[in-house]
Each structure stands twice: as C-alpha cells, then as structure tokens.
Symmetry: C2
Subunit: 384 residues, 2 copies
C-alpha cells in the first residue's frame, strides 16, 4: 500500500433516541444557527426533538436548503451568521444540508476575497466555524468527513471542496430517521454509499488487503441491508446497519493508502448540474459505463469485486467483467434506480455539452489520471 496520513476526530453518537444528546455536545453559551432543508424535519419530529433539547439555548434558524445545495442559498446564511454573530452551526438534515453548512462555516470566516474561490479555485480553508450535525438521511457520509459539494445556479456548476476544518465536531445518527424517508431517498442513499466505496476500491491493486476487505464488507452489507430497509423501513436493525454502512463508506478509512478514482462523481455532477438528476441516480448511470470503458485499467479489481461480492468465478476475464457490470446494474435497478440516460430523458445533446466542459479543463481524471474528454464521451455514450 501507499504511505498515508489519516485523522478523523468526528465524534459519532449513534443509536435509538440519541437526538436529545445534542444539548450536551454544543458549546455552552454559544449562539447557534440551526440549518435545515425543505421542512421534512418538521414532519418527522426531528425538528421538535432538537428544539426541545435546545430550549435553553440561543438558537437561530436557517431553513430552505435545497438538495444539491446552492451557493446562493449558502451566502444568504453567511449574512445571518455575520449579522447575528453566530458561533456554532448545527446542521439538521441529510448530506445536502450538511454540505451547505460546511460551506457556510468556511465562507463565514473567509477573508481572502470571494468565498466562491474555495470551490472554483481550490483556495485553502484556513478557518471555519465549528459544526455539529443531526443526520436524518444515510447516504453521503458527510457526517464523518470534511467534504462538501455545492452548486452555483447562475452558472450551472457543481463543485467540491474539502478541509479538516469543516469536519463536524459531532454527528448524531438516529436510525429511526429512516422510518419516514421516501423510498426514493432510501434507494438513492444505498446507491450513493455503494458508489462511494467503489470510487475508493475499484481501481488497481496495491496489496491492501485490509482496505479491500473493509470495502467489500460495506458493499456486501449494503446489498443485504438495502433491500431489507426498502421492504420495511421501520425495521430498526436494517436501518441502523444501512446508516452505519453509509458513514464508514466515506469516513476516509477504506481510502487510506490506496489509489482512488472519483470519475463517476465528476461526470455525475455534470448530469446533476445540467438536468437536476438526483446525485445517486447520476452515479447509477455513470458507474457501469466507467467499469465498461476502463475494464483494462480496472481489470484485476473488477475481477476481485465480481468474485468476492457476486460469486462470479467462471468464464473468460471479459465475460467475468461483463457479468460484474451486469450484476451492478441489476442491483441499482432492483432498488429502483434506472441506469441508462434515456430513462432520464437525457440524450446526445447533453453528452456534447458535458464533453465540451471537460475539454476545457486542464486535468485528466481517474486513478491513473488518463481519462480525458474523449473517454468521458465514450463513458456517457455507453449509457445511451
């Protein structure tokens, strides 16, 4: 394996009826801004649980953060942070609310010009407001990392940044939040977590048996538990196992000392930027194309994945790879995510626009940095 550094100081508070613990985790005498999304937390009781726990605290609210959170929305929150002299951000919601909160935390203390540069120019985050999280939706893993993805509506750009400064101080994960999620969000969460693992796993071998087996542990568990949650979302144990899988899928541990890909995400972000397709659905579309077009680069790991996850152990290498792709597609479709572009009414025209964007970028993608705009085109055409 490669040399690596790893540090993840996020405190996880996991389990049934844990949301009220938020009061013991926030700093004393802090002015808190509670951030949330479209209001589902008001229907499922989480809003009330948080408000009740924090009844003695000076609490401001900023609701209305959308899926694929907007830069423009975040900047409105930054104004409140500054005008109200907020000193702690409490994210109550899923990965989008948390990603937005991370950007708000960094932008509020950014003194080096336009905060958009954090996203567009990879400007370093030297300081950020402290963050806590109450997670209501297992999917992104944002609750235990320093990553964030933000969309700028005015330019239809979806950009990522990462910094240890925006890792939550704590994240509270009550699997009962799954009970009231729409099926679509559960299915998206399962696939999102699955592809997070694949981005760190399906590259080329560097003799990293612990990382590989941990990754395979999460994939197998998502394949087992995801359908159980969809069949009965009030089955606590399945919800808990799904929720913990999504967290460990992207808390850094399975990615230490190994090559990482992330081209599926990079291409997927463009599909969301142009068409507003749910993030996880873009991953379900793109990943099979990446596996097919990069089958030589990824040969050893696709074969390992096929054998250890799906029991594929007969045929030629190409047949085994085809079978591994087919099983992956079948799994995504079985939980309700179509994997071809036409199912989302996306065609050649969008592919051309996305390819044009990648053509302008100075870097190549993938674990071998060998994917240029031409291969992006091949990958997307594979999904027509």
């Amino acid at each position: 394996m490669y040399n690596f550094e790893f540090k993840n100081p996020v405190k996880i508070i996991f389990g049934k009826d844990t949301i009220s613990k938020v009061v013991t985790e926030i700093p004393k005498n802090a002015k808190i801004l509670m951030t949330y999304g479209g209001g589902s937390i008001k229907q499922n009781g989480v809003y009330d649980q948080v408000k009740n726990a924090l009844s003695e605290v000076e609490l401001f609210e900023f609701g209305g953060i959308e899926a694929n959170p907007h830069y423009e929305t975040c900047m409105k929150a930054v104004e409140i942070v500054k005008s109200e002299k907020i000193d702690f951000l409490l994210s109550v919601g899923g990965g989008s609310v948390l990603d937005a909160t991370k950007f708000i935390a960094a932008a509020a203390l950014y003194t080096n010009g336009d905060p958009w540069d954090i996203l567009a120019k990879n400007k370093p985050v030297k300081d950020a407001l402290p963050i806590g999280a109450v997670l209501t939706l297992p999917a992104t893993g944002s609750e235990m990392n320093g990553n964030s993805v933000i969309t700028r509506v005015s330019t239809t750009e979806k950009m990522a940044f990462g910094s240890p400064k925006v890792m939550p101080q704590f994240s509270i994960l009550d699997p009962q939040c799954v009970y009231t999620l729409p099926d679509k969000q559960i299915a998206n969460g399962v696939v999102d977590a699955f592809v997070h693992v694949m981005e760190q796993y399906l590259t080329f071998p560097v003799n990293s048996p612990i990382q590989d087996r941990f990754a395979e542990s999460i994939l197998t568990t998502l394949i087992e538990e995801g359908p159980k949650v969809l069949a009965n979302k009030k089955e606590y144990e399945a919800a808990a196992n799904f929720m913990w899988s999504a967290t460990v899928a992207l808390n850094g541990l399975i990615g230490v000392g190994v090559p990482q890909d992330w081209v599926t995400h990079m291409i997927g972000h463009e599909l969301t930027a142009f068409h507003g397709i749910d993030h996880a659905r873009t991953l379900a579309i793109v990943l099979p194309g990446v596996m097919n077009i990069k089958r030589e680069n990824k040969k050893d790991k696709i074969l390992q994945y096929g054998e250890r996850i799906w029991g594929i152990n007969s045929g030629t290498d190409d047949e085994k790879i085809d079978a591994a792709i087919a099983k992956t597609v079948e799994f995504f479709e079985s939980v309700g995510l179509p994997t071809k572009l036409p199912a989302y009414n996306v065609g050649e025209e969008t592919i051309a626009k996305i390819v044009a964007r990648f053509e302008k970028r100075p870097y190549k993608l993938g674990e071998k940095a060998d994917i240029d705009f031409r291969q992006v085109e091949q990958i997307l055409k594979d999904r027509l």
Copy 2:
C-alpha cells in the same frame, strides 16, 4: 446493534521513511521527554532517526522501560517530568513503552492522591500530558487508542486503565521497523492483534454485519500476512499489512455497538503477573479454553467464525466448534506460540493462585458477565 459513541482523533502517519516527520508533529518550543525501552531502537536506527529529526528540540530521555511496563519504572519518569517541567511525551518503541508513557502522562498531572489509584481504583484521568508515538512493533494497537496496561512488581498485579486523555496526538508507523524484529516478537504481535479482534467479535450476535465483517477482514489478513512476515521480515508489503492490521484491530472501530468479552486478557494478565509469560502467549493459552468452556454462550459466533475464517461447514455444531478451536490452536502454534500451560512450566499450583485472586473480586467477567472464579478455573484446567 447497540447504541454507541465513537471518537478517535489520533493522527496516523503510516509508511516508509516517515519517522523524520516527527519534527512537524511535536508542538513548537516544547520540552520533550523521549521514552523508550531496552535499547533495540539504538540497534535498528530508529533512535538515530528520531534524534536527528529533533536535533533542534529540547529533548530529554528516559530509557529502560521493560515489557509489561512497571508502575515503579513509570513513577521514576514522572519524577523527571516534574523536575524538568516536561510538557510533551514522545514514546519511541512498542506497545509497552507506549502504555508506560500513557500512564506517565496521566500520573504526572494526577492531583487526587496516589496515581496507583488510576489503575487499582479506576479513578478518572482528568488531565494528562500530550503524547506522540513512533511505533516500532505492531501488536498492541496502543498507537491508536487510550488504553494502557501496567504491572506493579511489588504486588505482582497487572492492571489496565483507559482514557481519551492519553490517546496519542499522533502515531508514526514505519513498517520497516518490522525488518529487525526478532521472530518471537513478530509472532507475538500477530497473535496479540488476532486476539484483540476475537475479544470484540467472538461474543453473541447483535445484528452488526459491518463490525463482524471488519473483524473477519482483520483476522483473515493476519492469517495470510503473519506467516509471510515470519518467512521474510524484509518484505515491505507484508510488514505494512501486518502493521495496519494490528492498529485497526484495537482502534475502537470494530468494537462499536457490539458486546465485548476481554476475559482472555483478564486471565492472561494473571499468567504474566505470576510467571512473566509474554502477553501474547498468555492469550494463545487462554483463548482456546474460553472458546471451549463458553461454547454455549458463544455458539453462534464461533460457528460464524469457523465458517467465514476457516471454511468449516460440515458436522454437528459441537464438531464445528471443536474444529474452529483446533484451527485457532493450529494457527497460534504454527507461528510458534505454544497454547498449553505445561509448555510454559505452569501447573495446578498457579491455577489455584489465579482462581483465588478472581474469587476476591466483586465482578464477573465476559460479555454476559457470567464468568466467575469457578469458570476461570475450568478455563485454565482446559489448558493443562
């Protein structure tokens, strides 16, 4: 799975030629006390690497920390910490040096009476000096947790304590340190890490597939990589995989939300206290006895372990359990650790002394807290 909390802020710096990074990790202008053991770091070059990296730093030294580190030795270091106004401890060595350093860190700032009470009376550690570690021996996992085990020579007592306050700020793991280890220490390290996993895994099922599979990942990797390291200790990749396995075996992650046992350690500590048997060797002796005597309590997990780790899937349950125990014994013996008491010249007399000790203690042991001194006797007699 059970509710849980998890926080592990230790920064891991892992890989080839990483020891010189120590200079960027220690606090500026700190007075450092470097702690180490019997001098092997002077033979393998680690001492020189650390000294060279810290040539500009005010560095004091405290060597001579023994395996199963002594309370009496630690208290000598505490005197130096106080007289020299040390404000950072740098452990350079294996788990024993690090465990000692943790106790020194806590004892130096303990103001509530005799520091022995931290061990003997479970007194809380409210503050401790910050610690950094350069790890030279994969085994105990102490580099990424807040646990420590200390022996008091005057009373032949071996006691443990744990506190987040004594988690290292950073731990540097260069697998090249394995190149010069004696075979015996490598074999001990493999078995130590293996049994750490088993203490957290071989209990009863609580529907925790991620934790179970992560645990199985580590066991399988130790079984594969351990013999490779013993066959050629200069094979970097095997050394690295062994080293990372030992760390993740006891950094808390596989133990979240699941019952834990630790009776093998509790009994093993007594064998070390009375006879000075290497810690890992005591575990190799005791674990098969625990598996045999607690075969009903642990039935489901022993069967799962047998099938997933050793491919045991035919016979009656009792036959499968016998086979799983036999495979475990065979593995320990194959790396050179005898698993029966007579091989260490220990007989009935010692068993009687150990049983008498447990008889005086007010608590029962094991994941179901149902192991009393009588069962301790059965377990030890099983190993005659």
